[in-house]
């Protein structure tokens, strides 16, 4: 049951651009990571720029900057799932988005899952889910993403 698993959180930041992944969580053969909570915001100079974001499953993790996710319970071990941000090589995504929304740069948007209704990735190496910028209106819009996942 995903809701009862160990919870971890981390964040990433990119300059918004089309087809760019901001954070990703890669499963292993032993755990199914589940996305519980996602926050998208911007720390750029306030302006009316919109951007579209999707959460998608992937089957190849791409290349990213490794992140050590913080355990919500300090007694928990490090996450088994592999976390990354600011991808330089994009993951190989599935075609169907699992969550799709847009936001104005001035607004902070949060998505939270009800217990038991998280977005799940299979327990298969190199599979997982990523938060992905589909497109952004404006130049140099720095976007931040914070996620909480369980495993």
């Amino acid at each position: 049951m995903a809701a009862n698993g160990r919870r971890y959180g981390f964040s990433g930041s990119i300059t918004g651009a089309a087809n760019k992944t901001i954070v990703g969580v890669t499963a292993t053969a032993t755990v199914r990571p589940s996305l519980l909570d996602l926050i998208i915001s911007s720390n750029a100079v306030p302006a009316d720029n919109s951007s579209e974001w999707q959460v998608m499953r992937f089957t190849a993790a791409g290349t990213s900057t490794a992140v050590v996710a913080a355990a919500y319970d300090s007694g928990d071990p490090a996450s088994t799932s592999v976390c990354g941000k600011n991808h330089s090589v994009e993951p190989t995504y599935a075609t169907v988005p699992l969550l799709d929304f847009a936001h104005n740069q001035r607004a902070t948007v949060r998505w939270i899952a009800a217990p038991g209704e998280e977005i799940i990735a299979p327990a298969t190496a190199a599979n997982g889910f990523g938060v992905f910028c589909v497109g952004v209106a404006g130049v140099g819009v720095v976007e931040l993403a914070s996620i909480v996942f369980s495993e």
């Binding site: 699992l98 969550l99 929304f101 949060r110 998505w111 899952a113 209704e117 799940i120």
Partner: protein, 81 residues
């Protein structure tokens, strides 16, 4: 209808999401909108073509994990498009 997720903008809930019983994706619910329903799952689905046939999310996850499920043929069919 129990919401499966919530979208909160600047601290105010602006939308609810439902989770598709087949692909596991969340989609924003429009009050007046038609919501496809799978009687075998007893759950709402997202209505995409690939999600019209009853293939539970658990079976799709197990297929991706290399396990055998009774839905393998159907999963291969939808993956071929």
């Amino acid at each position: 209808m129990r919401e499966h997720g919530a979208i909160i903008t600047d601290g105010i809930q602006t939308a609810s999401t439902q989770k598709c019983g087949h692909c596991g994706g969340h989609f924003i619910v429009v009050k007046s909108g038609y919501l496809p329903y799978c009687h075998q799952c007893d759950r709402i689905t997202c209505g995409r073509l690939a999600c019209l046939e009853h293939i539970p999310l658990e079976a799709q996850l197990e297929y991706a994990e290399g396990k055998k499920t009774q839905y393998d043929d159907a999963i291969r069919k939808i993956r071929r498009g």
